[in-house]
Symmetry: C2
Subunit: 259 residues, 2 copies
């Protein structure tokens, strides 16, 4: 009898976040589960790695069912590197990250620690998926997210994923009966319009808080933002080859000749 699949679970909100608990519960339906996640919130960490300081791994009290839980002092990407290369004795069959408290749709994918963990899994050649719920609240309801995660994990374990591609799954903040379905989409062309909130500290020195509003410039009906606005969960295939292949020919006409 073949072993049940081994699933590595990570996130960027930290090992104690409700979202990773929800994802762990879903993953356990499919196989053996090991959690390796940051010991503190690491939202907005992008694809950061720890190269100028050392890393710690702490083993937590494991679940009665054998689920092992580790927290690390590193970023989400560090957690994947540590999980695959140091914590686990065998190669995981799948990596899942999240469920993030807040959207990683559209351009948020490049700022997202949740998605960078999935991207790192993809770089390791392991089928990897990041999940995010469109609700930042600590007491968000993950019922719908768990339904979507179960469907996606089941399908990816069955079909695998193309090498070099991971999935960015976002889930609308609706009750299960309002979920319209799961849609495969492209990343919407949207962006943050930043505004810094400038304040003055008690000693008279200025400081700044990053704020901003999210603006969708994309009128396409095949985007993740459009899907989410219509109560669909969105699934975007994401690649780590950042080459703008379509721009190569135009760029070759630039005069880069060194005289």
């Amino acid at each position: 009898m073949s072993k049940k699949p081994l699933i590595l679970v990570c996130n960027d909100d930290g090992v104690t976040a409700p979202g990773i608990k929800a994802l762990t519960e879903v993953a356990k339906k499919f196989g053996r589960v090991v959690v390796v996640a940051p010991d503190k919130p690491q939202s907005g960490m992008g694809h950061a790695i720890t190269i100028n300081s050392m890393l710690r791994i702490d083993e937590h009290q494991s679940h009665a069912d054998g689920t092992l839980i580790y927290s690390t002092s590193g970023t989400p990407v560090d957690c994947i590197k540590l999980g695959v290369n140091e914590v686990l004795d065998e190669r995981p069959d799948m990596i899942v990250s999240g469920i993030n408290h807040g959207s990683n749709a559209s351009v948020n994918v490049i700022y997202s620690g949740t998605m960078s963990a999935a991207m790192e899994g993809c770089l390791e050649g392991i089928p990897s998926v990041g999940f995010s719920l469109l609700n930042h609240s600590i007491d968000a309801d993950f019922t719908t997210s768990k339904i979507v995660a179960e469907k996606v994990i089941e399908s990816v374990l069955k079909n695998g994923l193309e090498r070099g591609v991971c999935l960015n799954v976002n889930i609308p903040d609706v009750a299960p009966d309002l979920l319209a379905g799961i849609q495969v989409c492209r990343q919407a062309n949207a962006n943050w319009e930043e505004k810094f909130d400038k304040r003055t500290d008690p000693s008279g020195k200025n400081y700044y808080w990053l704020t901003g509003s999210f603006v969708n410039y994309d009128e396409g009906t095949d985007t993740d933002i459009h899907a989410l606005n219509n109560n669909f969960a969105s699934v975007v295939p994401v690649q780590y080859d950042l080459t703008a292949h379509k721009s190569l020919d135009a760029l070759k006409k630039y005069e880069f000749t060194i005289s």
Copy 2:
């Protein structure tokens, strides 16, 4: 008479690094220059942003020629957001980042703070280029890098860049007379094979250092790694649309139907 172009300079090695000094010198040949860079090294920060704490901006003694220099407590991406939205009174015509001490070729692009600053400039709709020299040393020789940077900046100021695309320029660590030229390339399919160096602290607790070796799996002659191995500077067009468009159709055949 029209104003000279305004160029915003950033990096990830910190405002005092020799590489940003070299890049600032080159940029000054083309226009007015403002430097907004991290107050400390931020290598490997990826596309991290600061969302859970406040940011500081410090103005440094400016150069006699009017070059303004600011350091911030933020990441490279924060520096671009602060530079464009808070420091500058007008929109920059170009953003340059670097010159990084160390390669950002191939997959290093996704870990790179230098390139995330360029990517953020691109997201703001401003022609943006990241430069990196294949030498980590603090006393690296930037002579060849400055020649390449001058050529690329001149060409981008003249021709602009396609919306949604920035450039990842890497420079071989050779003297100017050994530079073979500048080549437009795609990102090589290469990766780090990690190895953690496990140690024990004086109290008996384990800690880990991330180490690894870079392995190129790509035999193509059109890649950045191939160009650099042949003493060419590499120019890769980089996009922030991470959608794996080629995978959309295959993924639509997955059974994501919620029963």
